[in-house]
Symmetry: C2
Subunit: 368 residues, 2 copies
Amino acid sequence: MNQRLEKIWDWMAQESIALIMFEDCEERRDQSVRWLSGHPGDALLFISLDRKTLLVPWDLNLAKIYARADLIIPYSDFDRLPVKAIQGAAKKFGIPVGSKIEIPPVTPYPVFLNYVGELTDFDILCHERSAALKVKKFRAIKDGEEIKIYRKAAAITNELIELLEKNVRSGKIKTEADAAMLIELEARRRGCEGTGFETLAAGPDRSFGIHAFPPWTNAPFAGPGLSILDFGLKLGSYTTDVTLTFAREPDAKQEKLLTLVEKAYKLALSMTDNSIPTRIIAAAVDDFFAKAKKHMPHALGHGIGLEEHEFPAIRNRADNNWLLEPGMVFTLEPGLYDPLHGGCRLENDILMTETGPEVLTEAGIIRL
Amino acid sequence: MNQRLEKIWDWMAQESIALIMFEDCEERRDQSVRWLSGHPGDALLFISLDRKTLLVPWDLNLAKIYARADLIIPYSDFDRLPVKAIQGAAKKFGIPVGSKIEIPPVTPYPVFLNYVGELTDFDILCHERSAALKVKKFRAIKDGEEIKIYRKAAAITNELIELLEKNVRSGKIKTEADAAMLIELEARRRGCEGTGFETLAAGPDRSFGIHAFPPWTNAPFAGPGLSILDFGLKLGSYTTDVTLTFAREPDAKQEKLLTLVEKAYKLALSMTDNSIPTRIIAAAVDDFFAKAKKHMPHALGHGIGLEEHEFPAIRNRADNNWLLEPGMVFTLEPGLYDPLHGGCRLENDILMTETGPEVLTEAGIIRL
């Protein structure tokens, strides 16, 4: 954790920033608070140029267990108002009048105006090029400890993939709820915090949705046609993210979707290399689908970590300049969705290493 | 839904706003998109002064089923970029150059600057006093149809409260997971979309946390001491929100927490009246606890609806000016948390009527 803070302190010195605030609140979640302090959420984290940290948690009892910070002051001491907390932190740390204080770049414009109006003693910075962005970029490259967690999380995910396939084949899993509940329970039995996001389990009648709505129901699962199961396990705050497609008695049109998605996945993986921009990989998959007169309505993949969607971006959009670097953990998830014939998606978690991509998870298209 | 739009059109005419954008995206969720269009999420919704609506969904297949809008154009047609979508909507609706276009007040400051830089033909408004805020205020007062859904959701919630108590008493529920999984499954069996938020099930060793972390585990539940179970059922997009405390063999200190919370709840309910500001009710409870040398680290309650926390605010903070009005559905949830002795919270859902508060749910402190 100190190594993480060192990077921020270097940057603060370089940019002459006296104080930085990170904010994890209901309206604006930021897992960087956890990454930098260990505290699992609902808190402000202040970092001062002179190498001190202050956590302002909503729940002091939780902070006493999880948080590592030089100072902990409950949010209620500041009437649960960010402006008062910033003033309090500046006073506590003796921040000189006129200093630069950085607030999160996700701060809404009206809130920013309010801060500027109230905090006239300081130069309030709110811009994209921020410590928050720096931290998100740092988070994209996992260190040895994080990779160890990911290997374990992937191993548990693979156990569940195997169990899910077995129980679908035996008929023990008949509904979306059966699949989703098994994941919830078995994840915790194996020491996971839970799921990284709400499981998406969509039987043949609902698999046309990219993210099925509702996420899972009591509807039949894995009957004739295509069923999608997208889930992630959260271990030590890091989530995996995989998608299985179960295909039973697919007709010709469904078989075509399956084949195209499998080929697209192989194409993407074969291009996964630290010298090829991820935009180019995603564009190649989009082109591949276009040649078959199909269209993938979402990104090819994304980084994973404390959140289910992190850096690097892996999509065919002009503003994407990411390259894959050793230590990055990300997903590839080509998918196609047909309102009449159902959907198909295949998603695995991949670790980039010095010698190329290492596929950590074993999701695939399961033909029943 | 048209009645809802009428209110917005009235306001647009009054404020001379030509176009409004609502945005529901991963970074900034806004259930108003669903409230105004029926579409369950991940979309932009444009409303023009000349009474037209345009939905720009991420998932066209879902929109075709759920959305009611004059026009539906998939987000990928605008390269999934909000600026391009705004330009597209303005063109489609023939919005004159120089017109006011309102964007969500939660738009981050750097994103706002980007919009202003790109959309030079228009006057981009981003302020607290917005259609978004108006809609949130409208949403606080439920109409007849919404109240009907709430009565049904509350009835199902009460069935589950009864079942949970029965299964805890019989020993069928032994762990946090047993309780949480029962809720997940039985909610869907009864036609709910799912849970309105992640269930918080905390056994005696973890109930000191306001929001237990992790939300639920395989740890024992409802053994000696205090256990908290906070859950909500989502029916037709509206969520309930109740908290039970299970007390087994409480010691004198735990018994004191229970008694204080029960009294605080009764005090709050006795003051629930459309003539008393909610800040005063919350302050009375804070004072009551203070006299017993206790401190409640969170708000007394909150509105519920499409989200688990909505208007009205029910908290002791200077900026809270809410009064309770007929049609409002809200919770009262006094709680106390002791790092050594555990926590206790009691939360019910209440409908304000012309003749006073009507408690819809039957949560309480359950002495085992």
